[in-house]
């Protein structure tokens, strides 16, 4: 159970990071259009 919570925390951080980077790149591109 403890391991699953740890994995959930790590997965959530990674997913947020990934989504944030995609948002940053796309918003920068749209800003320049």
């Amino acid at each position: 159970m403890k391991k699953r919570i740890q994995q959930w925390v790590a997965n959530t951080l990674a997913a947020a990071m990934f989504a944030g980077i995609v948002f940053l790149l796309v918003s920068k591109f749209l800003e320049r259009l």
Binding site: V9, A10, L13, M17, G20, I21, L24, F29, R32
Partner: protein
């Protein structure tokens, strides 16, 4: 490194994006000069970079527009400036820049372009101009100063028949460069002697020299700039040449990525955070598999956007700006998330997101593949004097 059809498709699409971006850039450049000086009618002169100009409302007025460029952080930085009939600078405009947006904004907000107003073709020599730059954005402000100096000199030569001294091409090794050479020497010695316990010394050195002293770690934007054919000036940015040269040559010569494993200042912070917390969470196996592909997807997306816009600075999404403290609000959120992640998951950024690490690792793998294929090659000639019996 697996050469699957997807890898080839990714490389082919990047090549197409590069060509499309290059063509688009040429078309955009043509209209920039007219857009920068809408009130002027421009006519060519004997020098292709200095144009005669007359005001639309006063056809009898006479002025000049001089265009020059200088190597900046992510490529050539091109400026156009209007000079009056006596050779005094009236107005300067940036026509093209590939600098990181936040750095360029800092320079423009500090009013650097306004500081040149009133300077004359006689106020410059050997591509040097006595105007203070903007601290914290030294490379960008130096590129602007050099472009202004070059522009004034070419107008001075072609219109006002002045002569100028040639700039000195002597390369000066400063304190930061000397410290970086010492750090590289230490790391290479440690790698050759296999002293992995010395790694923390390398990271402390990398943090102090690359992070604090120079504030410019190796980034995707600078590697993309190389791929796009933009090389920074060796004279003005020797530190960058040493840093990138060492980082790119070590995979080829030592077959090791010494930059990430020994010197990266961001990795140093991550290691310190992991050591201070002592927490070692890991991603689920499925998420790790997805993250592996995700890193490549992010690298492809950022290169695609940079090539399409023909602008290396558009590619960057790394948190390395934290060393210079120049970043947008959203970038700060992402950097905080990266640091928070590395508190829970050791080397969170390096393992799952860093594009520089991915590129350097790919070079190590390619070099390994080449080494293996050359060893297996039946056409390999025996070394002289050591023919097999």
């Amino acid at each position: 490194m697996k050469w699957t059809p997807l890898t080839w498709a990714a490389l082919a699409s990047l090549l197409v994006a590069f060509v499309v971006g290059k063509i688009g850039q040429r078309q955009r450049a043509n209209g920039r000069l007219d857009a920068a000086f809408p009130e002027l009618v421009l006519q060519p002169s004997e020098s292709s970079n200095v144009l005669h100009a007359t005001h639309r409302d006063e056809p009898s007025s006479r002025s000049y527009v001089s265009v020059a460029d200088a190597p900046g952080w992510g490529g050539r930085l091109t400026l156009a400036m209007q000079l009056d009939s006596a050779g005094n600078l009236q107005h300067a405009e940036i026509l093209e820049a590939h600098e990181t947006g936040a750095f360029l904004r800092r320079v423009l907000d500090a009013g650097l372009l306004r500081r040149f107003q009133g300077l004359s073709v006689s106020d410059v020599d050997a591509e040097h101009i006595a105007v203070d730059g903007v601290s914290g954005a030294t490379v960008t402000s130096n590129a602007i100063k050099r472009a202004v100096a070059r522009s004034l000199e070419q107008a001075g030569r072609s219109i006002f028949e002045r002569e100028y001294a040639e700039p000195s091409w002597a390369i000066r090794i400063g304190g930061a460069e000397a410290a970086l050479i010492v750090l590289y020497s230490f790391v290479i010695t440690a790698v050759v002697l296999k002293k992995t316990k010395w790694r923390s010394i390398g990271y402390v050195g990398g943090f102090l020299i690359i992070g604090v002293l120079s504030t410019t770690p190796l980034s995707l934007a600078s590697l993309t700039a190389i791929a796009m054919g933009h090389l920074p000036s060796l004279r003005d940015q020797l530190f960058w040449w040493l840093l990138a040269g060492g980082a790119l040559c070590s995979p080829l010569i030592l077959r090791k990525n010494i930059y990430c494993a020994w010197m990266c200042p961001f990795a140093a912070i991550e290691e310190a955070l992991a050591a201070s917390g002592g927490i070692k969470f890991s991603l689920s196996p499925r998420a790790r598999k997805f993250a592996r592909r995700g890193t490549f997807a992010l690298l492809w997306l950022s290169l695609m956007l940079a090539f399409l816009q023909h602008d290396a600075s558009a590619a960057t999404y790394e948190p390395f700006f934290i060393f210079s403290f120049i970043g947008t609000d959203f970038q700060w959120y992402l950097a905080t998330l990266a640091l928070l992640g590395s508190f829970f998951v050791p080397r969170f950024w390096c393992r799952f997101f860093c594009p520089v690490g991915e590129i350097l690792s790919a070079i190590v793998k390619l070099r390994g593949q080449l080494h293996r294929s050359s060893q297996a090659s039946p056409t390999r000639l025996p070394i002289l004097g050591r023919h097999p019996r």
